[in-house]
């Protein structure tokens, strides 16, 4: 009798093993995925990559302490827990042990600290050294603990750790490989780079030594670089690719008519605005309001953007950090009131002249929107000159300090995950990307407070008030949130795209 439980246990184990076998087989990578992208990432090194396509590949090849999930939510990756010191100046992160890079090197606290210190050192050419400066210095404590000795209190440090720039690179391999590391980064993710042919394709295959919880689901992922919209869509139409990013408005009906693919519309946190240079007439709130209420946002979204835009209801786009985001009543389209406001401010028809700078091909239908805005503002009596320029010139103009700007406004899209990151750099007096010259003592106080606090309730209150002030003050002409249109084959399952336009392939399978 005493043998019975053991026999039963063995039988149960046998049955479970039999059941588990097909599951194990199913977990093996199967199927190839081909993705047509519009731009070459140029580099996969998180130190210098700033493109969503680079992020998408890095998420497959590298690990982070944290990462951003499908809604830009923070999810643990290598980290198991974190806590702040009493004075808020040391952030301690515990991480899993026993993991390795694809070249066999151990992925321990020392490797993590080295990766962060490389990111924080401007001498390495890191384009994020400034953004991450508040992390101070990373120190390894034993095998499984990393301490960040912060340079200032930062209640948003986890958001920094979750961004793709903070993914863990093998510093030894990066030093040995030099710039080639950007082509074949050595990471600890479920895939490795098989091939990188600049300007043509990048292919990934499963990492044979992967020892983490989310193994590869596909035998190969190939990214084919096709900048021309028509050619990229042709690849989807012929079935040569399974996914084509950035379906242009004019191609949407053709893709929707295919029997093997469809268009998926996904939210994007890209908040596109006309950022005003606050001097001269634009220091008058009535003029700014007149500019804002004379924009027919619905008409632009439907007529110009082909529904690939959602009229703005706040400066911060969806997915930036939804738990701290606030939205407001849509601004009315009221040209008569706009004319009255201009008259009140002392500007009769034709008495106010403004110049705006617009990029070509940076955002969906940017040129056409600028032309529409020019027409709308001219209809309320403002002389508007639209300077439509190439990307290099545009970038130079909109990054010029407000005092040195020759124009009055520039079209810029903002898409940075994290409320502190987005608002502090745009609206704190005299810093960063604040190219409007916006200055508000209350906003400055709130932004300082919001950065220092780790309490989510307080953060919500603080950033809610900041967003309200910005919506009321209108340093921008608020326009639209970009909408992503992705052409996706019916065979593709589990495909997701983050609001920062990073494609997620971790759970993708192909069922042909």
């Amino acid at each position: 009798m005493s043998m019975l439980p053991n026999q039963t246990l063995r039988r149960v184990t046998l049955v479970l093993m039999c059941l588990a076998t097909p599951l194990a087989v199913a977990a093996q990578p199967s199927g190839e995925l081909r993705v047509a992208v519009g731009i070459d990432p140029d580099t996969l090194d998180p130190l210098t990559n700033a493109l969503p396509i680079g992020n998408a590949i890095d998420l497959l090849v590298l690990n982070g302490l944290y990462r951003l999930g499908p809604t830009n939510n923070i999810v643990p990756d290598l980290a198991t827990e974190h806590f702040y010191s009493a004075d808020g100046m040391v952030l301690t992160v515990k991480l899993v042990t026993g993991r390795h890079f694809s070249n066999g090197d151990p992925l321990n606290a020392e490797a993590v600290a080295a990766s962060f210190n490389r990111l924080l050192d401007p001498a390495t050419g890191s384009i994020f050294a400034g953004l991450y400066a508040s992390l101070g210095k990373a120190v390894a404590v034993g095998e499984d603990t990393v301490e960040f000795h912060l340079s200032e209190p930062n209640g948003h440090a986890l958001m920094l750790l979750a961004n793709s720039a903070a993914m863990i690179v093998n510093v030894g391999a990066a030093q040995a490989m030099g710039a080639e590391y950007g082509r074949r980064p050595v990471g600890s993710g479920p895939y490795i780079v098989e091939d990188y042919i600049g300007g043509e394709r990048i292919s990934l295959v499963p990492n044979p030594s992967y020892d983490g919880p989310t193994p590869a689901t596909l035998t190969r992922i190939t990214f084919i670089v096709v900048p021309e919209d028509g050619s990229r869509m042709a690849l989807l139409e012929t079935g040569d690719v399974d996914i084509a990013e950035r379906v242009p408005p004019e191609a949407i009906p053709a893709i929707q008519a295919l029997d093997h693919a469809d268009v998926r519309f996904l939210p994007s946190m890209f908040s596109i605005n006309m950022e005003l240079v606050l001097r001269g007439a634009l220091t008058d709130a009535r003029v700014r309001q007149a500019l804002n209420i004379s924009v027919d946002r619905d008409g632009i979204a439907k007529g110009v953007l082909g529904d690939l835009g959602t009229p703005s209801v706040g400066m911060v786009g969806p997915g930036t950090q939804d738990d701290l985001r606030r939205t407001f009543e849509p601004l009315p389209y009221d040209p008569a009131r706009a004319r009255a406001l201009l008259a009140e401010a002392g500007y009769g028809p034709g008495q106010l002249s403004l110049t705006m700078t617009c990029p070509t091909g940076r955002y969906i239908k940017d040129v056409q929107v600028c032309q529409a805005l020019q027409g709308l503002w001219q209809s309320i009596g403002i002389n508007v000159q639209a300077n439509i320029v190439d990307r290099g010139t545009w970038s130079g103009v909109v990054n010029t300090l407000p005092d040195a700007r020759l124009d009055n406004m520039g079209m810029v899209g903002r898409a940075t995950a994290g409320m502190d990151y987005t608002l502090y750099r745009l609206f704190y007096t005299g810093v960063g990307a604040n190219r409007t010259g916006f200055s508000n003592a209350r906003v400055d106080d709130l932004l300082r407070l919001g950065r220092a606090t780790t309490d989510p309730g307080q953060q919500k209150e603080i950033y809610g008030e900041v967003q309200q002030i910005i919506w009321d003050e209108q340093p921008f002409v608020f326009l639209w949130y970009q909408k992503q249109a992705m052409g996706v084959g019916d065979a593709v399952k589990g495909f997701e795209v983050r609001p920062d336009e990073t494609m997620l392939f971790q759970n993708v399978t192909v069922e042909r």
Binding site: G130, G198, G199, R201, I224, L235, T238, G396, N399
Partner: protein, 307 residues
């Protein structure tokens, strides 16, 4: 001696080109550090990146470094990728050359054959059809023709891939598209030249010796027509290198044209400067090759210019 003289004359020309290229590219609007750092970068970040890229050095110092990069390739690196420019160019050059050379050869063969057909079938339907096609070929924008070919041969007929460069089949459409203009030009040129020489005495002499009509046309008449075609081929080849910017973008081909477009978009000065300098070298070499070929085809041009 002729080759040595021409090559020696090319050195100062290239030096002047290098100065102009370096200077003009440096004046392109848009700070590379600003573009690299992105629209949300702080002044401090941009300053650090400028320093890292060496953009704070005086223009003269950077020019000397640019020249040194010609002899020490590891010194010249892309702002965007950090990889040596020589490596970036070496990876892309074969693709561009394959399409340009392939396009030129197809253009020459098709142009010569259709030109001969036109000359021999003057006033017939064949002549009219070829004339219409050649006019269309000369006037059709490459960009539009490329998209049209993708729509027809890839999307509708499914014969060829739409974009990419991973198999030989991927090169067929780009080569055909870039061959259109040279084919049309050669066709008009060969027709005109053939019509001009068809009644000449030396062809009658050949015929009276019993040489077949086909040999008279292909060997005696066409050879003279080719002299002018060679000069045009040199110009066409140069234009095709410049046109690679469009063709490679439409067909998603990773050649020098695409590299240059990307570099201009991100103000990647080293890539732009060395690419343009290399195009200048190509033009000089092509001109030299054209002159040598013309001399071989036409012995009269081997005479010294002065007596």
């Amino acid at each position: 001696m002729f080759v040595v003289r021409r090559l020696a004359a090319a050195v100062p020309a290239l030096l002047v080109v290098s100065v102009l290229v370096f200077w003009f590219v440096d004046m392109i609007p848009g700070d590379p550090a600003v573009i690299l750092a992105g629209p949300t970068a702080t002044d401090q970040e941009i300053a650090a990146i400028r320093d890292f890229l060496g953009l704070n050095e005086p223009l003269g110092t950077r020019y000397i470094l640019f020249l040194r990069g010609l002899f020490e390739p590891e010194l010249a690196t892309s702002f965007r990728t950090g990889r040596p420019v020589a490596l970036e160019i070496a990876e892309r050059l074969p693709t561009t050359l394959a399409i340009a050379v392939g396009g030129l050869l197809v253009g020459l063969v098709v142009g010569a054959l259709s030109g001969v057909a036109c000359a021999l079938r003057q006033g017939t339907l064949t002549d009219t059809a070829i004339t219409v096609l050649t006019l269309a070929g000369i006037s059709m924008p490459i960009y539009w023709l490329g998209l049209l070919c993708i729509w027809l041969f890839a999307v509708n007929l499914g014969w060829l891939p739409a974009a990419g460069a991973s198999t030989p089949a991927h090169f067929v459409l780009p080569i055909l598209v870039v061959a259109t203009r040279p084919a049309a030009t050669f066709s008009r040129l060969v027709t005109a030249n053939l019509l001009e020489v068809m009644g000449k005495d030396y062809l009658d002499t050949a015929r009276s010796k019993g040489v077949s009509e086909l040999r008279v046309i292909l060997v005696h008449a066409l050879r003279n027509s080719l002299i002018a075609a060679v000069s045009v081929a040199g110009v066409q080849f140069g234009a095709m290198l410049g046109g690679s910017v469009i063709t490679e973008t439409v067909f998603g081909v990773p050649g020098l044209g695409r590299l240059l477009v990307q570099a201009v978009g991100s103000s990647d000065y080293p890539i732009i400067q060395y690419c343009i300098l290399m195009f200048a070298v190509f033009f000089i070499v092509i001109n030299l090759a054209t002159d040598l070929l013309t001399q071989w085809l036409d012995p009269r041009t081997r005479q010294p210019a002065t007596r």
